[in-house]
């Protein structure tokens, strides 16, 4: 009785404890068995996917539990995997769990079961496991066809260096099946009577098109195979950049790389490091590994849309892998967008005045993910749009007003615009100004009738980020009247007894013409009869005219005219009197710079001097040239590209009086470079006696020679054995014959008497001029015979 009472009391106490305990923590019955276990197979991912529920929980309850999962292969007793999966469970909430298989699922049947245990801190330990669920079978072999031999996994994509398990399933139970990787036999493990597996360790990249793995029944039977796609983990660039070597330790790969690079695709740096300048475009089997996007940058044109750009590098698409995708994340707003293009993306700026942006660009392909981030203030990334409607208005001869517009940015923002003016491709003016919408600026100090280019670009005033693109506009300034009088000269001559003046003028330079010269006006005013006025209009580009005058004096005005008006006038006074030609003559020396011409002033009131010459030889029509000089000059250097050696140039120096009349002051003649005479005079022999004869060459022109004739050499060959006559001296000719020579030193002395000769003797003579450079060419001698003394 007492014992029963003790038991009863104990029982009641225990029950009370238990109930107390339950009322403090949980009221659910334990354990909780997993239910509705379903298994599915994903061949592409080679995964088993489990889902189950726990029904026994109270409706509102959440409980932490652990599920022990067992996976068996081929048969339930062959357990290959055990894992404890911890999670929080709610009533009827479906739980998920996945498991990836090394061995392709098609090569074996797999079995899964699980049991559970409460693993919650609110429940005192130790818990206890539920019963095992039934084995659920995942059989991927049901979907196989009727072929006798299958190889798996089909068309798998892996990274180089990873391990891959290949297997075959044979419906023909034969032992003579062999497998090959790239034609080389591989050996594996037989897992059961129809399945064998091959573990490939550290697979290498071979080609972008994949690596063939096949199995065949020996003796020409069934065939099955797969293609394994191996992606690089490092690009060629990355590998080469980190490659070093020490003598004797270069790897085979490095050697091959070195040979390839030394073929011209790379450059060796110092100290054994090699750097690749550019990606190898010609290597046919080299897909780029996905690298971090380069040059990631964002900017806005209007504070409403951001445009982000980056360098995506090469397309990493393989036969089994599409090209990489790009996603843009912004951390402050938490938003993201999938970019449609591989190198740029637009982002709508938030309306809530968010200024700071933290963008992360994620590049992702099947195997890997790369990202890059930037943080910036929106207002510091403004790249304005190109200005537009750039036009010149009110264009004059020396100024023009440029106008343009800009696209607005935000509300009331100011842009800093830079206006540049270019002439002949060079910037000659630059102006900066701040504008909001419309820009306008007056360009001045321009040249008339000149083509200019104006161009404008703008930047955000608040914070400079980038200039906008340039907009340009070409324009021409208007013409203005010519600013200089034409340079005019005259040449006086008598034609049929009438004084004739030839007027010449030089075209105005572009700087002075200020436009296209259309015509020249010549006004001839008779100073002796002022009422007589002659006006001539000579169309450009004529540069001369001829006037027939009389003995009167004339004042000649010459003006150049363009579309705007006339130039200042060039005024010359001429008279019918040709003037004194007898003036001092001199010589000038030529140098490589030209002729240095000097003169002595005559009157004290000269307003200037003119040096005149003909540009070509005297035997050609004169191309008259002249040079105007100021009143205080007494020398100048005359240069011309037309000057030639061996040509005599005659310079005439004129003094221009206050009355604008030209008086011949001096004449000068010179050679840029003297040459030897090119021909000899025609010599006539006369007055032949038994002791003498006379030579003459009066028609010889000394002025048309290629140098100043200084005199003549008279050569005489006397009778054999006879001495040279007096006034001659012995000389040796170039052909080594002995001869007699007499030299005269007066170019105008064109006769010579050869005397003191012997009668009845044969003499030969030859006359040649000489200059400072040398004598004329050696010609044939002329033979004469002196007569008998008594004839």
């Amino acid at each position: 009785m007492a014992l029963f009472a003790i038991f009863q009391t104990t029982f009641l106490l225990a029950l009370l404890s238990l109930r107390t305990y339950e009322s403090e923590v949980l009221s659910e019955p334990l354990p909780l068995t997993p239910e509705s276990l379903k298994v599915s197979v994903s061949s592409t991912r080679q995964c088993l996917h489990l889902q189950w529920t726990v029904h026994s929980l109270a409706y509102h309850q959440e409980l932490k539990m652990v599920f022990q999962i067992q996976i068996s292969r081929f048969k339930t007793s062959n357990v290959i995997w055990v894992e404890n999966y911890r999670t929080t469970v709610k009533r009827n909430r479906v739980l998920h769990w996945s498991w990836g298989s090394e061995l392709p699922l098609e090569c074996a049947a797999h079995f899964i079961r699980m049991r559970s245990m409460v693993d919650d801190a609110r429940i005192p330990k130790p818990g206890f496991w539920s019963n095992w669920s039934s084995w659920e079978e995942a059989d991927a072999q049901n979907s196989l066809g009727h072929d006798p031999l299958f190889v798996f996994p089909k068309d798998k994509l892996v990274e180089e260096g990873s391990n891959v398990t290949i297997c075959y399933v044979s419906r023909i139970h034969q032992d003579n099946i062999s497998c090959y990787l790239e034609g080389v036999q591989i050996y594996g493990e037989q897992l059961d009577r129809s399945v064998s597996a091959f573990e490939l360790k550290n697979v290498s990249f071979i080609r972008k098109r994949g690596t063939n793995v096949f199995c065949k029944v020996d003796q020409g039977g069934a065939l099955g195979g797969i293609v394994l796609f191996v992606s690089r983990t490092k690009s060629i660039r990355e590998k080469v950049q980190v490659m070093t070597w020490t003598t004797g330790k270069m790897s085979c790969f490095a050697l091959a790389m070195l040979e390839w690079l030394q073929a011209g695709r790379g450059r060796r740096g110092a100290a054994g490091w090699m750097a690749l300048e550019r990606q190898p475009r010609w290597w046919p089997e080299d897909p780029e590994v996905l690298e971090e996007p380069k040059d990631f940058s964002c900017e806005t044109q209007d504070l409403k849309t951001l445009t982000c750009t980056w360098d995506p590098g090469s397309d990493t698409g393989l036969s089994k892998q599409p090209s990489q995708s790009y996603t843009l994340f912004e951390s402050f707003s938490g938003k993201k967008t999938l970019c449609k293009r591989r190198n740029w993306c637009n982002w709508q700026v938030a309306q809530d005045s968010q200024e700071m942006y933290n963008f992360t660009l994620v590049a992702e392909n099947y195997l890997r993910k790369r990202s890059v981030s930037i943080l910036f203030n929106l207002t510091q990334r403004v790249h304005p749009m190109t200005p537009y409607n750039l036009f010149p208005k009110n264009v004059g001869a020396t100024n023009a007003t440029m106008t343009w517009k800009v696209h607005s940015i935000g509300n009331n923002s100011t842009l800093l615009c830079q206006l540049e003016l270019l002439a002949e491709g060079k910037v000659i003016q630059q102006h900066n100004l701040s504008i909001k919408v419309n820009g306008e600026y007056l360009l001045s100090e321009l040249e008339p009738d000149t083509e200019y280019v104006a161009r404008v670009r703008c930047a955000y005033t608040n914070h400079f980020w980038k200039w906008s693109e340039l907009i340009s506009q070409k324009f021409n300034t208007a013409e203005a009247a010519p600013s200089e009088a034409p340079d005019v000269w005259r040449n006086m001559k008598m034609v049929s007894g009438h004084p004739t003046v030839s007027l010449f003028w030089k075209p105005l330079s572009k700087v002075h013409a200020n436009g296209k010269i259309l015509f020249y006006k010549v006004i001839v005013e008779n100073l002796d009869k002022p009422s007589r006025l002659e006006v001539l209009s000579i169309p450009a580009p004529a540069s001369s005219t001829e006037l027939t005058l009389d003995q009167c004096s004339y004042q000649i005005h010459v003006t150049a005219h363009n579309s705007v008006g006339p130039s200042p006038a060039s005024v010359t006074v001429v008279s019918g009197d040709p003037g004194n030609e007898e003036v001092e003559s001199g010589r000038v020396n030529g140098t490589e710079d030209g002729f240095s011409v000097s003169w002595k002033p005559q009157s004290g009131d000269a307003t200037g001097y003119v040096v005149e010459w003909c540009d070509g030889p005297q035997d050609l029509p004169c191309v008259l040239q002249w040079k105007n000089l100021g009143p205080n000059t007494t020398s100048t250097v005359i240069s011309s590209g037309a000057f030639r050696p061996g040509v005599r140039y005659n310079f005439r120096i004129y003094e221009i009086s206050a009355k604008r009349m030209a008086h011949l002051l001096e004449k000068k003649a010179g050679y840029l470079e003297e040459l030897a005479p090119s021909d000899n005079p025609q010599v006539v022999m006369s007055n032949l006696t038994s002791h003498s004869f006379t030579l003459s060459w009066k028609d010889y022109s000394t002025e048309s020679q290629p140098g100043f004739i200084q005199g003549y050499h008279v050569y005489l060959k006397p009778k054999a054995g006879e001495q040279c006559p007096p006034a001659f001296e012995k000389t040796v000719l170039p052909e080594d014959s002995v001869c007699c020579k007499h030299t005269t030193d007066n170019p105008e002395q064109k006769t010579f008497v050869v005397e003191n000769l012997q009668p009845e003797s044969v003499y030969e003579f030859f006359v040649t001029p000489y200059t400072s450079v040398g004598e004329g060419p050696l010609d044939a001698f002329t033979k004469i015979t002196t007569p008998d003394e008594y004839c």
Binding site: D155, R207, R209, F214, G220, A222, G224, V227, P284, S319
Partner: protein
């Protein structure tokens, strides 16, 4: 007495043009075409194996010579058949090949998009097979022999669908088989026409 001017002629001869020279010319041309395509088919096969990777093209690699869409290689007894029958079989094979070559080309365009010459050869092969088939049919008609008549739709679509899901390796093997069948049948056609061509066995 009348005089006949011009060349001497047999007054008993039929004045219409003899069909024989025309048929001979047609046979000759078709034979030449077949010979040319045999060379191209060999080049196609070489080009094909180059782009598939080892072991394709290696001497010891020979997949089973299974029919493709009911098209097999010429039977061993083909050469023993009468020429018209042989040509009928040739024509049927040449008609079946273009859709299969198209399937191979489409698959290769995915696997080897940069192999432009291979893709072009496959496209040309389909067109040339049609042309040769039509020429053989014309020869058969000229011979007065029956042609094959309307045929059932080829099973190329089914092949294409199966190839798309079967994996890359089976697609490569199929392409090898189709290129091989193409070569065998144009070569067979050349030999069969050679029997009819002038100078060949009667």
């Amino acid at each position: 007495m009348s005089r006949r001017e011009g060349s001497l002629e047999d007054p008993q001869a039929d004045s219409s043009i003899s069909p024989l020279p025309h048929l001979e010319s047609k046979i000759q041309q078709t034979h030449s075409l077949a010979r040319l395509l045999t060379k191209y088919a060999e080049q196609l096969l070489q080009e094909y194996v180059q782009h598939q990777g080892d072991p394709f093209g290696l001497p010891g690699f020979s997949p089973p010579r299974l029919p493709v869409a009911d098209l097999s290689a010429p039977a061993p007894g083909h050469a023993g058949l009468p020429v018209p029958e042989r040509l009928r079989l040739d024509e049927a094979a040449l008609a079946a090949l273009p859709p299969l070559l198209d399937v191979v080309r489409r698959r290769q365009a995915e696997l080897n998009p940069r192999a432009l010459r291979l893709l072009r050869r496959l496209e040309d092969a389909a067109r040339q097979a049609r042309a040769l088939g039509a020429a053989v049919e014309a020869v058969l008609a000229a011979l007065g022999a029956e042609t094959r008549g309307p045929q059932a739709e080829p099973a190329a679509a089914a092949i294409a669908a199966a190839t798309a899901t079967a994996g890359v390796f089976p697609a490569k093997v199929l392409g090898l088989r189709v290129c091989g069948l193409y070569r065998e049948w144009v070569s067979r056609t050349e030999a069969d026409l050679g029997q009819l061509a002038p100078g060949g066995p009667a």
